[in-house]
């Protein structure tokens, strides 16, 4: 059974620390070229097809800005 996941990043609270990026086992996340209101390059799903909803990124996020969704298909 395969799983598909997706994350939603609260871009205004994200500080672009990149800790989620190195802890993502499927290279789903990258830093956006855009910046938020505070001038940080926020994290976003660069490769949405890779996401398995493993919650690793949300577990290590220091600012708790990531919400994770997962479905079985």
């Amino acid at each position: 059974m395969a799983v598909k996941g997706a994350i939603v990043v609260d871009t205004e609270r994200c500080k672009g620390c990149s800790v989620c990026i190195v802890n993502c086992p499927t290279q789903t996340i990258a830093l956006s070229k855009k910046v938020n209101g505070k001038g940080y390059n926020f994290a976003y799903m660069a490769n949405p097809d890779n996401c398995t909803g493993c919650t690793n990124c949300a577990t290590v996020c220091p600012d708790s800005v990531i919400t994770v969704y997962r479905v079985k298909i």
Binding site: A6, S18, T59, S64, V68
Partner: protein, 253 residues
């Protein structure tokens, strides 16, 4: 499968703990404080003790912790959090009382308080964040700074003959009769966070069992004080901090 079919409330598997407020944390990007706040909020939420928990915040970066975790807080004078926690726990034995202290607070100015609170075996939880530097004041040397580590006040690296040796406060309190659970954890990757969460939960449970003080050290980073990116700081911590501050339970009874 379209992404909008996945992002639905019934598919949600992880979201911010409701105990964490919506205030944007003042901590630097990638700071360990944020992860430890999240661990505390999740443990307190899962145990269902939000209205029975009193936190004592220190002087240091975490002085504003009351803005971020929605429980009762007191703010102690520098290093005196164990003294306030002693009073809070003795007057309210049915409350879960914890102190949240950094290494400048606990291992430097507050050494006497922590040693004696642990030696008395107060039924409190001590969360100790060790990032080997004074973060809030601008990256000066702390008692826990490693030998050879460059800080604002040791620009050529810490030297034992001039600055003394790094202080392993966790090993120190483990020798005291009053402590029941002494452990050293970290929070740089998902496995470490999950392990640390179990340790924090155990510490909170111990504080209601009249066993003595539970002491949880977090080896953490201060990427702005160390002058590194958050990712580089985590690597530096694994390479340099962990050999001197080995992770794991030091005492458990």
């Amino acid at each position: 499968m379209d992404i909008n079919d996945i992002i639905k409330p019934e598919n949600k598997v992880y979201s911010k703990s409701p105990l964490l407020t919506d205030n944007i944390m003042h901590y630097c990007p990638g700071c360990t404080h944020g992860v430890v706040h999240k661990i505390l909020a999740e443990v307190i939420g899962e145990m269902g003790i939000q209205d029975k928990t009193i936190g004592i915040s220190p002087v240091g970066c975490a002085v504003l912790a009351y803005n971020y975790i929605d429980i009762d807080w007191e703010q102690a004078a520098h290093g005196r959090a164990p003294a306030l926690a002693t009073a809070a726990k003795r007057l309210n034995p049915d409350k879960y009382v914890f102190t949240y202290q950094g290494d400048g607070d606990l291992a430097s100015i507050g050494t006497a308080e922590i040693i004696h609170a642990c030696n008395r075996g107060e039924n409190i939880v001590v969360i100790f964040i060790n990032n080997a530097i004074y973060g809030m004041t601008g990256g000066q040397m702390a008692p826990t700074t490693l030998l050879g580590q460059v800080t604002a006040t040791t620009p050529y690296g810490r030297k034992a003959e001039l600055n003394g040796f790094p202080l392993k406060i966790t090993e120190l309190v483990a020798q005291l009769e009053g402590t029941c659970f002494v452990t050293r954890q970290s929070a740089q990757n998902p496995a470490a966070v999950r392990k640390a969460k179990k340790a924090v939960r155990k510490a909170f449970e111990n504080s209601m069992m009249n066993k003595g003080t539970s002491f949880v050290e977090f080896v953490g980073t201060c990427n702005s004080g160390w002058k590194m990116t958050p990712v580089k700081a985590n690597q530096w911590m694994e390479e340099n901090m962990f050999p001197f501050y080995p992770l794991g339970d030091i005492k458990d009874r």
